[in-house]
């Protein structure tokens, strides 16, 4: 069986040319996204209402189902969300999930733009497509988790990514995925609910796989931080993604 020690160069279409999107000045709207992520959901009640026992049990099942497969049940989400409101423990998790959701929205948009640009083909193209599908699944799972906790999912941000060539995109993907992995790692210890933590860990390791994959593509380290991955805090990550917010 032939072994791909490196991705076939022919699978890159080297279309060097002007940037597809000029990098614009940062608009005030992005500051709102940062603030929206970190504020408390203080208009929510801080105790749980019980509605026929359908609340947290189905949430746990939902989150675990999201861990184990790519499919999620939106009907279960809606049914359970109707009776559950946020607790003080939940509000922290909601904020973290919404932060993750913002990052996942951006990653999904990135992959959508990359795929639309048709820069990759063959095995690499298939890989990029599969990663895009996975990020989209992350969006669905996290959005559902926020709703199950009685929170309001953050609005999908407008993203913009420079896309000039296959190599440039692969480099950018390496950066973005490394950042995503560091972001999840940075929040693991802050998560209150074991189910939310399980979900976050299930996603965290996949982002790491994505990062390593692009590392092999662009000949950059599989493990850029060495034997121990470095976490990144929310401030650092949000500053790093600011250039990609329209």
């Amino acid at each position: 069986m032939p072994r791909d020690t490196e991705m076939q160069r022919s699978e890159f279409r080297q279309t060097e040319g002007p940037a597809r999107r000029p990098v614009e000045e940062q608009s005030p709207r992005s500051m709102g996204i940062v603030e929206r992520l970190t504020r408390d959901d203080s208009d929510r009640k801080r105790f749980l209402k019980v509605v026929g026992g359908t609340g947290a049990a189905s949430f746990g099942a939902f989150v675990l189902a999201a861990c184990g497969s790519g499919s999620t049940s939106s009907t279960a989400t809606k049914a359970a969300a109707s009776g559950v409101t946020t607790t003080s423990a939940n509000t922290g998790d909601v904020a973290i999930l919404n932060y993750a959701l913002t990052l996942e929205y951006l990653e999904t948009e990135f992959y959508a733009e990359v795929i639309a640009a048709k820069l990759f083909s063959g095995k690499v193209g298939a890989l990029v497509k599969s990663f895009g599908v996975q990020e989209a699944a992350h969006v669905v799972a996290i959005k559902g988790a926020v709703e199950k906790l009685g929170g309001t999912p953050v609005v999908k941000p407008e993203g913009k990514f420079p896309i000039t060539s296959a190599n440039q995109v692969a480099q950018l993907a390496y950066t973005v995925e490394n950042l995503g992995a560091a972001a999840y790692l940075g929040q693991a210890a802050n998560i209150q609910s074991p189910e939310v933590l399980a979900s976050a860990l299930a996603i965290h390791s996949v982002e790491a796989r994505h990062a390593a994959s692009f590392g092999t593509l662009v000949k950059k380290p599989i493990t850029p931080d060495g034997a121990f991955a470095k976490p990144a805090d929310m401030t650092t990550v949000l500053a790093a993604v600011k250039p990609f917010l329209a």
Binding site: A188, S205, T223, A229
Partner: protein, 223 residues
């Protein structure tokens, strides 16, 4: 089930329908948890477990939590010893070349660091690190070596992801997170080298139970 709290430790020993009171209340807590959410009953469940296991109060619960964390880390340490031996010793016996050889060298160095870190963490928790086991790896050429590497790394990811939510210490959790991310990176690189998808679980890595991990790793542990 009512939301009564265990306020009288002396009731611990009382029998309720053939079950100790602590177990009875623990079951209640589990049922309550299904309704109110795990976060609401978390501390109560820990307290009930502490009651039922030793009959004592929470005074040595910190030690108990450390011991529990140390046990989990010892499980992880066994896997890290396994991977370290695999990359540092077995790889040389098989004889690798090219990318496989450079991965084995790099990953071997990193797994060795994981062994050191986990050993130190277990000691810090007041635990006793397991002794390095003897392993047997069924691989005699580069292809079978890489195939086994992918099993080990993917199992490692599943093991850490499965065990981490049970860790009491947030600091230990953070350390486990720093390690599992590396295992995932290793796994992806090996899979790509084999011409496989780097994400065999799709978008969500599957957490493994201890039994599931032992099913994969157990046969490799000779002593």
């Amino acid at each position: 089930m009512s939301d009564e709290r265990l306020v009288n430790p002396e009731l611990t020993a009382c029998e309720v329908h053939g079950m100790s009171r602590a177990s009875f209340l623990l079951r209640g807590a589990m049922a309550t948890g299904a309704v109110y959410g795990v976060a609401a009953v978390g501390p109560y469940v820990s307290s009930a477990l502490a009651q039922s296991s030793s009959g004592g109060t929470g005074s040595n619960s910190a030690a108990r939590m450390n011991a529990s964390d140390a046990e989990i880390l010892n499980f992880a340490l066994t896997l890290e010893y396994l991977e370290s031996d695999f990359y540092n010793v077995k790889a040389k016996q098989v004889g690798l070349s090219g990318q496989a050889k450079s991965y084995a060298k790099l990953f071997g160095e990193e797994e060795s660091q994981h062994v050191e870190a986990l050993t130190a963490a277990i000691k810090q928790l007041g635990g006793k690190p397991v002794a390095k086991p003897t392993f047997v790896f069924p691989a005699n050429n580069e292809q079978t070596f890489l195939a086994l590497a992918s099993v080990l790394e993917n199992t490692g990811v599943g093991a850490y992801n499965g065990a981490a939510p049970s860790l009491h210490s947030k600091q230990v959790l953070a350390e486990a997170g720093e390690i599992v991310q590396i295992e995932a990176r290793h796994a992806a690189a090996i899979e790509l080298l084999l011409g496989h998808t780097p994400t065999p679980n799709g978008g969500f890595d599957v957490p493994l139970t201890k039994a599931q991990v032992l099913a994969k790793a157990g046969p490799l542990i000779k002593a």
